[in-house]
């Protein structure tokens, strides 16, 4: 045996110092890319903060945070109390969750515990299309189909109301709940199920007593993420919920959410530098804080769920 290859390799090794240069620079390049996400966050926080700061030079922070009237457009006597927008946002989110939690979780259980591999492969992508339908399309669907349908049950329901877009937002986030929860359920080791089956448990008992408890933190984190998506949803609400910032949690009233307010203003294009212009940043800031909180909570739970096994 003549070690030709070995000699060749040795030769090449000496000839290549560029190799080690690449080896040293690549991690730095990739680090910069990863750090970019922080830059984006800083960008978001910075822009929101600066303009929010201007807003609070014009509107009292206390009024903003405690006020129950939101009439920014009334030139003579505007009021900037955030609560109507917050209550509108949470009304929508609550309705959406009432739709998405039972349906999404049931779908997750079905997909993870009952469906055959083949059915799962067919059904899951179909459900995921629900999450991919553009929100403009959903908005029109809510306004021109769901609302009239609801009106045939509740004749007094006004054309713009929280109920219809709330339901549609809920439908939109079903796949989010279903997919993520199903993945969490999948992560419960088959050995756990086998243990229960071997004791004579039925599938339902395995699902309810082994799988769901075992994936609880993953499920909760999927729900929190879905909630944050519902809070951030814009076009459906802007199209079908009206734009009256009403205080309270009445689903049959027309409401306005934080996101809908932001688009409303930016489409009307409030004059740069006006109080209204700054107000969208203050609302945006609050929205950012809300979703940040949601994500931190979701993260906490998903971390817990990873550590179980």
């Amino acid at each position: 045996m003549q070690p030709t290859i070995r000699e060749l390799i040795k030769e090449k090794k000496q000839a290549r110092s560029s190799n080690s240069r690449i080896e040293k620079t690549m991690p730095k390049v990739f680090f910069l890319m990863a750090a970019f996400s922080i830059l984006v966050t800083i960008g978001i926080v910075y822009t929101l903060l600066i303009e929010t700061f201007y807003f609070f030079t014009q509107v009292s922070f206390v009024d903003f945070i405690t006020g129950t009237e939101w009439y920014p457009f009334f030139g003579n006597d505007p009021s900037f109390g955030i609560w109507p927008l917050v209550s509108g946002t949470f009304t929508i989110a609550a309705i959406a969750m009432m739709v998405a939690v039972p349906l999404g979780l049931s779908s997750a259980v079905y997909l993870s515990e009952y469906a055959s591999e083949r059915n799962r492969k067919i059904i899951k992508p179909i459900l995921e299309v629900l999450a991919g339908v553009p929100t403009v399309v959903y908005g029109l669907f809510a306004l021109t189909f769901v609302t009239p349908l609801l009106q045939s049950f509740i004749p007094t329901l006004p054309i713009f109301n929280a109920l219809s877009p709330g339901i549609v937002v809920g439908i939109m986030i079903i796949p989010q709940v279903a997919s993520l929860s199903q993945e969490a359920m999948n992560a419960v080791p088959q050995a756990m199920r086998d243990g229960a089956f071997a004791l004579g448990a039925t599938r339902l008992e395995v699902a309810l007593k082994i799988v769901i408890p075992g994936s609880l933190s993953g499920i909760i984190s999927s729900l929190v993420l879905a909630l944050s998506r519902a809070i951030g949803e814009t076009m459906i609400v802007a199209t079908a919920a009206g734009s009256t910032p009403n205080m309270g949690f009445n689903p049959t009233e027309s409401i306005q959410t934080m996101t809908a307010y932001i688009v409303q203003v930016s489409m009307g294009d409030a004059t740069f530098g006006s109080t209204i212009y700054y107000s969208i940043y203050a609302v945006g800031m609050l929205l950012f804080v809300f979703t940040l909180l949601m994500n931190i909570i979701a993260n906490y739970f998903s971390r817990r769920f990873r550590e179980v096994y």
Binding site: N19, E23, M26, V29, F30, F31, M33, A34, F36, S37, I38, V40, T41, G43, I44, T47, L48, P102, L103, S106, Y110, E113, Y114, P125, L127, E128, V129, L130, G132, V133, P134, T135, V136, V137, L140, F145, I171, I174, T202, R203, L204, E205, A207, L225, I231, G232, E233, T234, A238, T239, T259, V263, S266, G284, L287, F288, T291, L292, N295, N299
Partner: protein
């Protein structure tokens, strides 16, 4: 000899078995509900919009006459915006994922970056719209251009791509790394020859899914002013633009009832594009998973 304490009652067992059957039906119906809604939505849109769906619809610019209205500019705008979004988000996203999965030490900074990315993924698109408006449109004076729109979209989907790419990289079995290390490969060689080839299907799947989100995205682009009548094809990244969902939104806001149907026709096109993208992603996912 043992005496039996646990008496198994056949009746009780039968009841448990019956509950299981009921559960199965309920869970299935819940799953079916989502699909029924989807079907309803599709049927509605199709019956509404099919009348306007023809070749002209794809090749005409928007028009005041519903029968002449088309989506040429919107499609072109979408393609141009994606032309910015795809490379920017893919390069940044995959690079970030490679750093986090392959190089990052397990320390606070890394955890902070990861937490930060998952937070960004949850930030509502209107907030990205605000960022785009303030930073790209105003501060960098890009105006209401394709560039501003594309960059805003890139930031919007960047976190999703990072997460998908991370998952794809993480699912590469340790044995593959071991095989390469044992041959004397260096880190970067392993990334090039093992990690990227193996993660590509997963990255592609995630990228397609997040791009389909970008294609349907409306609110943030509305905020940076993409709502406009445009009867030309963009010729540079500084051109004004409109995109399909915004064109649909625009039509839906018209007084003439016929434009509602045109909007529905636009929705069909958008949905078909999205379903095609989703299917492509699924095909890639099914074709390339479980290879090890």
């Amino acid at each position: 000899m043992k005496e039996k304490r646990i008496v198994i009652n056949e009746n009780k067992t039968n009841r448990r078995v019956a509950y299981n059957k009921i559960g199965r039906v309920l869970f299935f119906l819940s799953t079916a509900f989502g699909m029924i809604v989807l079907a309803t939505l599709l049927i509605r849109i199709f019956t509404q919009g099919i009348g306007y769906l023809n070749w002209n619809f794809l090749t005409n610019y928007a028009s005041r006459r519903p029968e002449d209205a088309g989506i040429k500019a919107a499609i072109a705008g979408t393609v141009w915006v994606m032309g910015i979004t795809i490379p920017v988000s893919l390069i940044l996203g995959v690079g970030t994922a490679i750093y986090l999965e392959e190089y990052a030490p397990r320390n606070r900074l890394t955890r902070f970056i990861e937490l930060n990315i998952s937070n960004l993924a949850g930030v509502p698109s209107v907030v990205f719209g605000l960022l785009g408006l303030t930073v790209f449109v105003r501060f960098f004076a890009m105006g209401r251009s394709i560039l501003a729109g594309g960059l805003t979209m890139s930031l919007l989907i960047l976190p999703i791509i990072v997460v998908a790419a991370k998952e794809a990289i993480r699912s590469i079995p340790q044995e593959q790394y071991e095989a390469a290390y044992a041959m004397g490969a260096t880190k970067w060689q392993i990334i090039r020859t093992v990690v990227l080839p193996a993660a590509t299907p997963g990255i592609l799947t995630g990228a397609i899914l997040s791009l389909s989100r970008a294609v349907g995205e409306t609110a943030s682009l509305l905020m940076i002013g993409a709502m406009a009548f445009i009867a030309y094809l963009p010729d540079s990244i500084y051109s004004s633009f409109t995109v399909l969902p915004i064109q649909i939104f625009n039509w839906a806001g018209r007084p003439q009832a016929a434009f509602q149907a045109v909007a529905a026709a636009g929705s069909i096109v958008l949905l078909v594009i999205l379903i095609l993208m989703n299917s492509l992603a699924i095909v890639i996912r099914n074709k390339y998973t479980k290879r090890y």
